[in-house]
């Protein structure tokens, strides 16, 4: 069995990649993917912790988190679609009517 610590470390790496990607990429879809990466990092950590503590609640948390991530994607894509309809771009840098 894989050492939960390693999984934890991997999740930390994923989290950092996700967070880093979120503010370096312009395309909203990619940013959304980065966010998913962050959520999945948390999921992995939950799973690892569940194993570590031998507690099943962690798995429940993971399942719920996946559901949350899924609905988040659904909402996000719907919004991006609407944004594209109005702005004709989903580049985060170019959608800046509102500022200051």
């Amino acid at each position: 069995m894989i050492d939960p610590a390693l999984v934890s470390g991997l999740s930390a790496l994923m989290f950092v990649i996700g967070l880093g990607g979120a503010f370096t990429r312009k395309n909203a879809i990619i940013v959304l993917m980065c966010i998913e990466l962050m959520l999945n990092a948390a999921n992995m950590q939950f799973a690892a912790a569940a194993v570590h503590h031998g507690d099943t609640t962690g798995w429940v948390y993971t399942l719920f988190a996946i559901a949350i991530a899924a609905s988040e994607v659904a909402i996000g894509l719907a919004i991006f679609l609407a944004v594209y309809g109005q702005h004709e771009t989903i580049s985060l840098d170019d959608v800046d009517v509102l500022k200051n």
């Binding site: 966010i35 962050m38 702005h87 009517v97 509102l98």
Partner: protein, 574 residues
């Protein structure tokens, strides 16, 4: 803590304990079903027999009324609100809902009830006042009665409102950090969509996208923090976490976890530097929604912070929590100053209110810092427990009355919006001539926001400052009476947060007053001379806000007592 009733989920007493929430659930079902009722028929497959099916088809006159969802939502939310108040007036019945395995899931007590009051009240007002002013074709268009009747998105809007309320109430009740998180996400998703609801306008979708994407990142960080806490403690039950902290709260892992969770809630309360999406979101969203963001949503974030920091991470004699105290203090200072400075030059009333809401978040964070501060300063003991209750009381009071005047201000803007936009300060021009009563209402909201007596905003700010100073002074008064000698430096440093808050209130007067000046001094914009088109609902809502603002400001004692009770019932060891 003795009189807590334990109820298993869906067991005996579950319904009576969670009656308001179940009301919301019922309302949600009605909202989904009722507007869809029509003359639709169901053809039995293979036959030509059409059975009346009632769903779909040409709608009944009754169900096709676009005001119907609004009414359902308003009645549901309002009913829940009144129910909460009723429950409150019947004395506090504390109920804890546990899972089959005995884990505490939800706790019904005064504290959660007060927050539900805030959530339901704000959302009920927002729903009620959106009834006849919801925009269809983007900011700037006027909605004819006819267009309104054909708008089927009405139902979606109010469904989201109610789900939002449901999510929030879960946050209020949660006794498990993950349950709290799920409630938070439910409410958040609803608000993301509500903000983006004006998908026919550029600003609408843009604000929605920004709010969504930034909020998602923040909640991602928060969730990761949760996972770290779980990794550390093996459970996300408040009781477990609290005990674990009391034992060994100084290690890095849980503290970093707390810090990450702070980010998640920090976004909700729009604390600097997590507030950036807020002004854009407020500016793009329709005003009642912005009002909800500024009041209910913020209260929800605040609630999370209180739960996290005070229940989980601030056990007695915990040296390590001083770290997050410093974080929080710095955040409070930066937030209030940032918000006020930014609002100072803002020409968009909605952005201005957004920044002012950032500033108010700063004040509340300062109060929270003070609550956290009483624990580890050696000179402060004595009535510090009562002092912490006092600050919590102030915090709750502030959140409650904020609904009245912050939401009220947004509702006034919403009246202007329904005429054709409220994104320039000049759109408020000459309001005093056009609608004197509306202008007076806005004036009252503004000075209340600024903290000018005798409005509720003054009392709330006073309570916060008093709470902070009380913590800072501690029991020096008693020791002076015993012959002790002190200097100013003996006071806890949170006193300087009170000082900063006072200075910030002074700065804030500037931009609030500018709104007043524009209303009472400037001429109306071209083509906006006459009285405003709007129905009675929003005006009634505004009137309610005005009355609350003034009445609470003049006689806030009973509300203070309610908040005090709530603060005392926070299930923590004082």
């Amino acid at each position: 803590m003795s009189n807590i009733t334990t109820v298993e989920a869906f067991g005996d007493g579950f319904i009576s304990a969670l009656f308001p929430e179940l009301m919301l659930f019922a309302g949600l079902l009605l909202l989904i079903i009722v507007p869809n009722l029509g003359k639709g028929t169901f053809r039995i497959p293979g036959t030509q027999i059409r059975l009346p099916w009632l769903l779909g088809g040409t709608r009944f006159k009754f169900t096709s009324d676009p005001r119907l969802p609004a009414w359902i939502a308003s009645v549901t939310l309002g009913g829940a609100f009144l129910n909460v108040i009723y429950v409150f007036s019947q004395g506090l019945e504390r109920v804890v809902i546990v899972s089959e395995s005995g884990k505490e899931l939800l706790l019904v007590n005064g504290f959660s009830r007060v927050f539900e009051m805030i959530f339901f009240g704000a959302l009920a007002l927002a729903a009620f006042s959106s009834m006849n002013r919801l925009q269809v074709k983007g900011i700037g268009s006027r909605v004819s009665e006819h267009e309104l009747y054909n708008n089927r998105r009405q139902a979606d809007f109010y469904i989201l409102m109610v789900t939002c309320a449901l999510g929030m109430s879960v946050v209020a009740l949660a006794q498990d950090l993950f349950v709290l998180f799920i409630g938070l996400e439910l409410a958040s998703f609803s608000t993301y969509v509500l903000v983006a609801f004006l998908k026919e306008s550029k600003v609408g979708v843009e604000s929605g996208m920004k709010y969504f994407i930034v909020g998602s990142v923040a909640s991602g960080v928060g969730l990761y923090g949760l996972s770290m806490l779980y990794l550390w403690a093996g459970s996300l039950q408040f009781s477990v976490l609290s005990a674990a902290f009391a034992e060994s709260g100084t290690t890095a892992l849980p503290l970093i976890g707390i810090g990450f969770v702070l980010v998640g809630f920090g976004f909700k309360v729009s604390a600097a530097p997590f507030h950036f999406a807020a002004p854009d979101a407020y500016a793009g969203a329709i005003s009642p929604v912005a009002g909800v963001l500024a009041t209910a949503s913020k209260a929800m974030g605040m609630l999370g912070l209180v739960r996290m920091l005070l229940i989980v991470a601030a056990p007695e004699s915990s040296e390590g929590s001083a770290v997050w105290l410093a974080c929080l203090g710095a955040m409070a200072a930066i937030t209030m100053t940032w918000g006020n400075l930014a609002a100072l030059g803002s020409d968009n009333p909605k952005r201005m209110l957004a920044y002012s809401s950032v500033a108010h978040a700063g004040y509340m964070l300062a109060a929270l810092t003070a609550v956290g501060a009483w624990n580890w300063d050696a000179t402060i003991s004595g009535d510090a427990g009562a002092a912490a209750v006092a600050v919590m009381t102030a915090l709750l009071f502030h959140l409650v009355v904020l609904v009245a005047f912050k939401l009220g201000a947004f509702l006034v803007l919403s009246v202007l919006e329904s005429e054709g936009g409220a994104s320039r300060l000049s759109s408020l021009g000459g309001l005093a001539k056009r609608e004197p009563l509306l202008a007076v209402a806005m004036f009252i909201f503004m000075i209340s926001l600024a903290g000018v007596p005798p409005m509720a905003g003054f009392l709330s700010k006073l309570l916060v400052i008093m709470g902070i100073v009380r913590i800072a002074v501690g029991d020096m008064g008693a020791e002076i009476a015993d012959g002790g000698v002190f200097v100013l430096a003996d006071m806890h440093w949170v006193w300087w947060l009170a000082f900063l808050m006072v200075i910030n209130s002074a700065i804030s007067v500037f931009y609030y007053l500018r709104v007043v000046v524009v209303m009472f001094f400037d001429e109306p914009e071209e083509g906006r001379e006459g009285p405003l088109p709007s129905g009675w609902q929003v005006r009634l809502a505004i009137l309610a806000c005005v009355l609350t603002t003034v009445f609470v400001g003049l006689a806030g004692d009973s509300l203070i007592r309610i908040c005090e009770m709530a603060a005392q019932s926070l299930n923590y060891g004082w």
